[in-house]
Amino acid sequence: MSGLTFTMLDTAKMSTAEIYGQALCGLGEEHPEIVGLSADLAKSTKIGAFGEKFPDRFFNVGIAEQNMFGMAAGLAKAGLVPYVSTFAIFTAMRGLDQVHTDICYQNLDVKMIATHAGLSFGQAGTTHHCTEDIAIMRSMANLTVVVPADGVETANAVRAAYERKGPVYIRINRGFDQVVYDGPDYGFEIGKAVTMRDGTDLTVIACGSTVWRAVEAAAMLEKSDGLKVRVLNMHTIKPIDAEAIERAVRETRRIITVEDHSVVGGLGGAVAEVAAGTGKSFSFKRLGVPDCFSIIGLHEDLLAHYGIDENGIAAAVREMMGKDFEADDDWEDEV
């Protein structure tokens, strides 16, 4: 387990990607068949730590993502387990044909750890923001899609990805994330949402950097408004924890999703698909980047701008709580 157990102390000192790099080094020690690939972003994505530790097992392919994902497929076919890291935008778009056909279609053991996702590359601008990848990647058959909430969860996900057969996409941010978990032992399991706070008034379903914000908003709302808001960390977008969503619909009837991603087709879309299938009536709102190309700025500022920070979430909760959306409280007679 060396190098795989991270605590709050580590997350205060290391960015999420740095924890990923260290976690992969630890995993690489245990499993000699793990190889690493990057496309001139070894330093930025922190997979470079693995490359320094295992230079023979690391391939920097230059700025050529299509070749990189194809090579990863070939390496997997030769019996190795490639971890591939570039920015989210280049994973989900520049190399997507190869990700789709070479990796997902052939159901290969390739783990894609994509960094600088969502709005986290704030000042780099819209060409480097990635607010479409969850929607794109969750439409790929065979692919597991994980959006960790912080560094500790990233370390858990990187390890779980190895144990899980087939392709995995892990989406992390640039830089530091707010600390959500103070240690790795909170029951992380791919496909299983983590209940961060229980509640019966409304459920906020979050992933990635919005989990911490949802928890903060819920705590604030309890103190100020006396609201009991359930918060789910839906770290796995695919396969999604349908049972947790169905329970939230049944027990709280009000659902707000929040993600550092477009409101089209991401976490909100995935939750809506499941919730709509329950046949129950419920109030629903998606928070995220509206259907537009994002503006440029600091990550924190952008989250506030699009209402996906603590204040935005709290405002959305209050608005929904203020709406009387049904006259009949008896759900037993519904479909």
Partner: protein, 287 residues
């Protein structure tokens, strides 16, 4: 080592047999990529019947050589070759393209025994092959990876990303063959998107280039043997071929990238293939 007369004869017979089976498969399938199948057939035949170490009874044998049909649309040429080797029952070819059949226009490596990679989106095969080759080297295994590219496919930028990387990583256990049949869907390659000076492009990317007549088994044998002995640079064999080779009303005509045969055309195609085979044998006898 040069082919013996018997070996050449055996390969010519096999290629003829496979061309016939391929046109039958096109007829059973309703239609297919017949032009490219005919141009690639001699290359695939000599690889599988002379140089590659494979075991159709054990398709996942760890030390087998790998072949990737990067020009994945010529499944209708490749599947008959695999069936003939015994990877699966030849009868299955009669269901080619039929709904629910494991055999479709672009072969699925998870469904068809012997197929190493699911290809079809062009420009992917060289990267996959390079990954395999580097994987073999990392694991200290001696098997080789052969990738067959189409020439039109080389319009794809991804091919050149992989070429650059193959040279950078000195992947000499990767052997690239280009089926240079000079045609693509919309016309001759030089009209649609000029490839020439094609060999110079590969050289500039760090490859040793071997140019060979892709329908002459002696030339192919010597090219492949040179490629297999490479220790410095990765090798590409540019095999000069004829789209639709062996069928007179198709040969050299880009419009036959894809097509179908009715009973009359099928008979004509087979007759023409017979004549082509005879002329090849006659040429061989003169040597």
């Amino acid at each position: 080592m040069a082919l013996t007369t018997e070996e050449r004869r055996r390969l010519e017979d096999k290629a003829h047999e496979l061309r016939l089976l391929s046109v039958d498969t096109v007829a059973w399938a309703g239609s297919g990529h017949v032009g490219g199948s005919m141009s690639a057939m001699d290359i695939m035949t000599i690889l599988y019947h002379k140089y590659m170490r494979v075991d159709p009874k054990d398709p996942a044998k760890p030390d087998r050589d790998r072949f990737i049909l990067s020009k994945g649309h010529v499944g209708v040429g490749y599947a008959p070759l695999l069936a003939d080797l015994g990877y699966f029952d030849k009868e299955l070819l009669r269901e080619y393209n039929h709904t629910g059949s494991p055999l479709g226009m672009h072969l699925d490596s998870n469904k068809v025994r012997g197929v190493e990679a699911s290809t079809g989106s062009l420009g992917h095969g060289l990267a996959i092959g390079l990954g395999m080759a580097l994987g073999a080297r990392l694991r200290g295994e001696a098997w080789k990876t052969f990738v067959l590219l189409g020439d039109g496919e080389c319009d794809e930028g991804a091919v050149w990303e992989s070429a650059m990387a193959a040279a950078h990583f000195k992947a000499t256990n990767l052997i690239t063959v280009v089926d240079r049949n000079h045609c693509m869907i919309d016309g001759p390659t030089e009209d649609v998107m000029a490839l020439e000076p094609f060999a110079d492009k590969w050289r500039a990317f760090g490859f040793e280039v071997i140019e060979a007549d892709g329908h002459d088994f002696d030339a192919l044998a010597s090219a492949i043997e040179r490629a297999m002995a490479a220790t410095d640079k990765p090798v590409v064999i540019i095999a000069d071929t004829i789209k639709g080779c062996g069928i007179d009303f198709i040969a050299g005509d880009y419009k036959w990238h894809y097509g179908g045969f009715d009973a009359e055309k099928l008979a004509k195609a087979k007759e023409s293939l017979g004549l082509y085979h005879e002329s090849r044998l006659a040429k061989g006898a003169e040597r």
